[in-house]
């Protein structure tokens, strides 16, 4: 008897720390970038699996979900290789171009279709979009509480959980009723390495694909059409590759540095 069903929402992203800029054209060089599981999501998956390990066999079921093009199936297989029970791919051309709102619409429909999910776990943000908004928006769509930046799940049962969240300079511990959604920080665990059995299962497993029709989603509510925000311009900032040595008295140096950083919007 499944006591707690957990949905883990993950995303495939281009591994951006590798991105290089062509200095001549000031454009990105895509070559050599591999698609990877969003690094923060690995912690979400691990936490789902660890919650299951707190209970007896068969009491907790962990399902991985992703919305994306067909090739996103790969990250669902990775999730299975590290221990999630099953996975669902939400894929349809109509889902493309979704902002965080339309993404949460699609995920909410899928979670309702799965039914009786007591806990939804997400990574704190994605490497590409970098917003961290899907979690709270999804929770709101589902009408359930959301705790961001969860750093420890102290207690959990079917109806309640005690969870600690990390803020800039403190921890806050909450008790909330389930169902609920949380996003996790890296502090929460260390994701495991895949197991051989897990990899073999991932190789052979059939991953169901749900499209807009199966989710009973109108074209107008998903993807770019269902988004409230739209990208109107994309450009590359002037990246300064060479080192800029800042000269002068210490006061002048600090003032200059401060200005440069302001200009780059890093402080």
């Amino acid at each position: 008897m499944i006591e707690i069903k957990i949905a883990v929402c993950i995303k495939q992203v281009p591994g951006t720390t590798e991105i290089k800029i062509d200095p001549q054209t000031n454009t990105l060089i895509r070559e050599g970038i591999e698609n990877i599981i969003n690094p923060f999501d690995a912690y979400a998956i691990e936490e789902g699996v660890r919650i299951r390990e707190r209970f007896s066999s068969g009491e907790v079921e962990v399902i991985a979900l992703t919305m994306g093009p067909p090739q996103s199936r790969e990250i669902l297989k990775e999730a299975i290789s590290v221990g999630v029970d099953s996975a669902i791919l939400l894929s349809d051309r109509a889902f493309a171009g979704a902002d965080t709102w339309a993404t949460s619409t699609t995920l909410a429909k899928a979670i309702n279709k799965i039914g009786d999910c007591r806990l939804i776990i997400l990574g704190k943000q994605t490497l590409d979009g970098d917003t961290g908004q899907v979690g709270p928006e999804l929770a709101q769509r589902l009408g359930i509480p959301f705790i961001g930046y969860a750093s420890s799940i102290l207690e959990i049962n079917r109806n309640k959980m005690k969870v600690k969240r990390l803020m800039e300079d403190r921890y806050e511990t909450f008790e909330i009723n389930l169902p609920a959604a949380i996003s996790v920080v890296k502090d929460i665990n260390t994701p495991r390495v895949p197991s051989l059995r897990g990899k073999m299962k991932a190789k052979s497993v059939e991953i169901p694909v749900w499209d807009a029709k199966q989710l009973e989603a109108d074209e107008d509510e998903v993807g770019l059409s269902g988004s409230y925000t739209q990208v109107v311009k994309i450009f590359t900032p002037k990246i300064k590759h060479e080192i800029k040595m800042i000269e002068g008295s210490p006061g002048e140096q600090v003032e200059q540095l401060y200005k440069e950083l302001k200009e780059l919007n890093v402080i």
Binding site: V193, P194, L196, R197
Partner: protein
Amino acid sequence: MRYLLTEEQKMIVDICRQIVKDRIIPVRAEMDEKGIFPWEIIKEIGKSDLFRLFIPEEYEGMSTGIFEVCLATEELSRGDLSVAASYAASGLGLIPILIAGNEEQKKKYLPQMASGGKLAAFGLTEAEAGSDAGSIRTTASRDGDFYILNGTKQWITNGGEADIYTIFAMTNPEKGVRGASAIIVEKGTDGFEFGKKEDKLGIRASATRELIFTDCRVPKENILGSEGMGFIIAMRTFDQSRPAVGAQAVGVAQAALEEALNYSKVRKQFGAAISSFQAIQHMLADMATNIEAARALVYHAAKVIDSGEKNVTRLSSMSKIFASDMAMKVTTDAIQIFGGYGFMKEYPVEKMMRDAKITQIYEGTNQILRNVVALDMIKRGVL
């Protein structure tokens, strides 16, 4: 260069590489310096099913061959030989149960080993019995339903950390080597204690300890095979385990080569990367060639064992001799390429050399193994 590996074998390699990258490399220098036993990593290896490999499926294993164990051992050794040695030594402790254990013993011990929470160890060496293994003095005298063990084992890998020990003791001292028996002793048995942890040149994170038996009573059911079979069990165990020592050597040498190659490309002297100098190029080429030759021999030995061939002593010993001598040479040369930096603890190559040394010594010194190879050859011909 990747050998023609099956899907499953590639998965084993991938898993090990991830463990090495994420879990081993970040902590290996600290573990080495402080001599910290790598339990966290061993547990991760367990969760990844790597302890299941050559254990039969009916005992919750995955029924692979020795070849797969060698693949895993080689890859782990690229990260840290202490980890690989602890992993391989657990296998060494289990092989006697696989070879000579009865159904009940297998059912009792193999599943708990397969799931990876526990380690095994192999207890043969004594202060006066190294290469001359036949002269062990630890005794196991029968007393009703028990054997009573007395004596001290020395330099036992995984000593103190393992839960299950395969101990070789004299049940009939007058018979010499034919009087030795293999007995399973569990940690926590009364009269079974551990001596001090050795402070070593290399594989410093692995546990090497004395096992001290003082009127230690072990149930008679724990004997493997029958009385007097101990020495045969030990030798047959080594036949199967030695390619894994070769794999350790190949792994650590590979790691040293990778470090040396990378360093040679970034280190500049006389205005050029040192990799552009022929003296360095030839060293790198020789290192790579020797590693490849050793790997081929190790893999071949493992595959011959897995084919079910009975007379594997010679090949198994050759793979260990060749690979370990190669590893000593390659790791030393790696330091040479690093120059003064290689001698410093800032870089990992000095540790690799210290670690590599043990592969020439344990599970039969390369000298005693040359005797074994020569005697087998004289007896059975070149083949």
